[in-house]
Amino acid sequence: MELDTSHAQRTLTWTARLLSALQLDGPLLTGIGLLAVVSLVILYSASSASWPVVGSQASKFALALVVMIIVAQLPSRLLMLAAPWLYGLGLVLLLAVMVKGEVSLGAQRWLNLGFVRFQPSEIMKIAVPLFCAWYVHDRPLPPSLFNIGVLALAILVPVGIIAKQPDLGTALLVGAAGAMALLLSGLQKRYIFGVFAALIPTAWIAWAYLLHDYQRQRVLTFMDPSNDPLGSGYHIIQSQIAIGSGGIFGKGYLNGSQAQLAYLPERSTDFIFAVIGEEWGLIGLVIVLFLYLFVISRCLFLATSAQDTFARTIAGSLGLTFAVYVFVNTGMVTGLLPVVGVPLPLISYGGTSMVTLMAGFGILMAVNAKRRLVGH
């Protein structure tokens, strides 16, 4: 018996050493890993038992993991140095997309560089908070009105371009990432309340002039799904039927009739949360939500224990953006928020946003690496 324990202990120590050598955070990695497992298992069901889909998702996880590990090795100082350049590059690419991007499904989001096709808006999910953290690093906090103005501009310009593509989901997440950085840099309470007060007229203007017809329709349908039962209301109605009919314990793995009989649209991507709800019930969803809560709070814990303003701000805002991600998707699927095309992070099928997410976690780990304790 004693021998076994020591063996187990040795394995643990060895793992801890490996993690620390790779600058990785054990608890965070565990949370991410558990969510990845949930993803692969539920995807098998949501894709009607398609191994290719599961395999493809697994390989995307592997790729994203490699990206995360590589990013985690980067010195914090290098990240800080790169921040404004990455932001500039992202902005240039966004403009390039606007001028000569590829139109797919009615939206101009893709940039084809010949060898690879990608959405520059993904870069902005990281570049915007990175830029904000870099900007506030050397400046006294809470930021002066002038600095708030500069940051607001740095956030709103890319958000505006992305929203115009039109890609409301990504615009929202990029905006949230910047806003979180601003909040964590100690934005005064009066400004926070001021923004909330300004939100009402802004929403009105956006409604009247900026939103596309289909986006307006989505909001209307969210208010009353039966308004458009043949169109986008169909998604909301069907996903609520799926979740509600799952009950406390669920219908059992591979047994969700809504999902298996294809009533539920986009069940592998944006609406995968409803598949979990139907097959694993309330219990399954609560477990998933607690996994998310664990990952988010671990991110915030790492942020508070970071040593300098840059590290704190970037780590904190990436963690909070992840939370926004979770809430926008689950809120949409459960009918609490309008339908905005945002996937459930780490669980939904799809590669681009996963790589960005994991790169974000990599940054979080990089800026918290112990060996750079002594700074400045």
């Binding site: 400046r139 964590l184 609520q240 509600g244 009919s245 406390i248 009533y263 915030l300 704190r312």
Partner: protein, 651 residues
């Protein structure tokens, strides 16, 4: 002296502030998670029964209710397109256990073509799973019975009563009216899929297509209670449910400018010919008749075309699908001469009473080959009125030569030649109004890019590079009738709103006036055109005894080459080598009510073949009823006799 001291970073304070905010954020996130869980409890515990029932296969299904398509009526209210009930076979994918087996089963019952299965399958997969997709339209009684006895073997396949499109007058006016057909893959890319859920037929051509938005209406829906097999039930577990129903709104009705009497009279006279007629009310651009023969039966498309029917329409050498009135491009022949005369007066290169000597040919200095007049012995000394009346070629060779091609181009442009007229249906051709600039761009070969003076001379009598569509010709004639005032031709003059029942008249669209610098120019040319139907003119026979004044011009155009893709056929060739007959006219000359252009392919002379059609339509439009009846009786008696020989007085 610093007023504001530069603030210094307070690292400890910042750390404290950050931790504080992070804690608040964590608290808010936890709160959010619990709000979500509360929502989940509401959905999964409190409302569990409700959702479980819906998902159990016992659920409320949403069925779209397609709207009734708007009717199309002629200007006097005669219905041209209606809706008639019919039965169609529909498949709803989500209720079919095995799609391949179901389609094969239907083919075995002879309800589907076996060759069509692959296409149908693609169609079905493309539509949403809860939508019924039509697989066979307009079932007859025998087919209905055949399916009814085997219905229980085909879950998810239903007979649906639907409104299908009916054209009571069959081929009459088909090129203006257009037709509806099954929503195709290409249509689906443009149409709003919600608005067209449950809609089988969509406008494919003519007014049916261009006014699709007015005609379609708004789709409604109803909720149905269905059991696990997808069959409709009234109660579930003894409970009844309040089911929603939103009625569809029918499409708006269209009132065409077409007068069915004129339309069918012209069609009847042109039976067996390849021809086009366009009659326009010069006062507002209303198209009174738009004829292109041969036509086809638009009812075929609403039923779904068989292979044989398809070949008969699309591979037919007579090209019934081809709208000659808008797309047919013909040399104008002598019908261009009145407009050429207007150009001469506008640029002051000739006066009305100036005469030219017509010896039967025209020579250009330095060119060996003479341009011949249709009258070998010549017309002697002719002024403008006589030149139009007798259609003297030499006069217009000379005039065109003096004007030069670019002035001709600029002037005729103002009458709408070389452009689409903008009529409210698709497919109109521009034809060619040549100029030196045009020739530079039209040919790749450098040697072909130069405009020669000889080219201009051909244009003077409407040959050579100049081509027109019957629509353009009618529009220009209407413009002449109105002394230059132009209206955009239109096929719809009023729309009746399906909800309010209110008939809304559309205002005529005024175009820029044709160029004119002296009002008396119109009188000279129109006087010449009136002479055409008087003794010694080229169209005297057709209008003898007409109690109204007519201004007209005949034309004959060489049909020089075979149509593309046409096989050599000796029997047909003799007919196809004949010239095209053209005719333009308007009446009454002083207060015009109708302007017309007639083109009969290989019809020979304009005066004998094309003019009688114009005469009959004018009678319909202008004579009081009793006189018209008398005229029609006379005409019928004449038809009884043998064909009247062509008048030698024609050009």
């Amino acid at each position: 002296m610093l007023k504001k001291k530069k603030r210094i970073k307070d690292h400890h304070g910042e750390q404290r502030m950050f931790t504080q905010r992070a804690v608040v954020a964590t608290g808010l996130i936890a709160l959010g998670i619990f709000a979500l869980i509360a929502r989940l409890v509401w959905l999964q515990v409190v409302r569990y029964e409700y959702f479980a029932e819906q998902a159990q296969g016992n659920r409320v299904r949403i069925e779209p209710l397609p709207p009734g398509r708007g009717l199309i009526l002629d200007r006097t209210g005669v219905p041209l397109a209606l809706n008639a009930p019919s039965f169609q076979l529909e498949i709803t994918r989500e209720q079919v256990p095995n799609l391949d087996a179901t389609l094969a089963g239907l083919a075995a019952l002879n309800l589907l073509d076996r060759e069509n299965i692959a296409n149908l399958k693609r169609d079905i997969k493309r539509r949403r799973s809860f939508e019924g997709v039509p697989v066979k339209l307009s079932l007859n009684e025998e087919e209905l019975a055949r399916f009814a006895v085997r219905q229980q073997d085909f879950p998810g396949v239903e007979i649906k009563p639907r409104l299908s499109r009916k054209y009571p007058l069959s081929a009459s006016g088909v090129h203006a009216l257009g037709y509806v057909g099954i929503v195709s893959e290409a249509d689906q890319k443009i149409l709003d899929s919600d608005e067209y859920a449950g809609t089988t037929l969509v406008g494919k051509a003519g007014v049916e297509k261009s006014y699709e938005q007015e005609l379609h209406g708004k789709t409604g829906y109803q909720q149905l209670l269905v059991n696990a097999q997808g069959r409709r039930v009234d109660t579930l577990g003894g409970k009844t449910y309040a089911l929603e129903r939103k009625e569809p709104t029918a499409g708006n009705d269209l009132y065409l400018t077409i007068d069915e009497r004129l339309q069918s009279a012209a069609e009847e006279m042109l039976h067996g010919e390849r021809a086009a007629v366009v009659a326009i009310d010069p006062n507002n651009g209303d198209v009174l008749a738009l004829v292109s023969t041969p036509g086809f039966d638009p009812n075929l498309f609403g039923r779904g075309l068989s292979h044989a029917q398809y070949l008969d329409l699309y591979e037919n050498p007579e090209q019934p699908m081809y709208d000659r009135a808008l797309k047919g491009v013909y040399p104008s022949g002598s019908t261009i001469k009145p407009f050429m005369a207007m150009a001469g007066l506008y640029y002051n290169v000739i006066a009305p009473l100036d005469t030219r000597m017509c010896p039967g040919y025209f020579r250009l200095p330095g060119v060996n080959r003479p341009w011949l007049d249709w009258e070998k012995k010549g017309h002697g000394s002719v002024n403008m009125v006589k030149a139009i009346k007798t259609s003297c070629d030499v006069y217009f060779y000379s005039l065109a030569n003096t004007l030069g091609v670019d002035r001709i181009h600029d002037y005729l442009t103002s009458f709408g030649f070389g452009q689409t007229t903008g009529i409210d249906i698709e497919g109109e051709k521009k034809a060619t109004l040549p100029s030196t600039a045009w020739r530079r761009q039209a040919f790749k070969d450098k040697a072909m890019q130069t405009w020669y003076p000889g080219d201009t001379i051909n244009i003077g009598i409407g040959q050579g590079f100049l081509t027109v569509t019957p629509m353009q010709l009618a529009h220009a004639t209407a413009t002449m009738a109105m002394h230059g005032k132009r209206f955009q031709p239109r096929l719809v003059h009023a729309i009746r709103d399906a909800i309010t029942g209110e008939k809304r008249e559309l205002a005529p669209i005024v175009l820029d006036d044709a160029k004119s610098n002296d009002a008396s120019n119109w009188d000279v040319v129109i006087n010449g055109m009136q002479e055409v139907v008087k003794p010694g003119g080229t169209a005297v026979v057709a209008f003898s005894g007409a109690p109204y004044t007519v201004a007209a011009k005949t034309g004959t155009a060489q049909a020089f080459s075979l149509a593309k893709g046409q096989k050599y056929n000796a029997a047909q060739l003799s007919k196809r080598m004949k010239d095209h007959a053209l005719f333009i006219a308007f009446a009454p000359a002083e207060q015009p009510k109708i302007a017309i252009a007639v083109v009969v392919e290989n019809g020979g002379h304009g005066g004998s073949t094309a003019a009688p059609i114009a005469r009959r339509l004018f009678d319909f439009m202008l004579l009081p009823p009793e006189q018209l009846a008398e005229q029609e009786a006379k005409r019928a008696a004449k038809m009884q006799k043998a064909q009247v020989a062509a008048t030698p007085g024609d050009e």
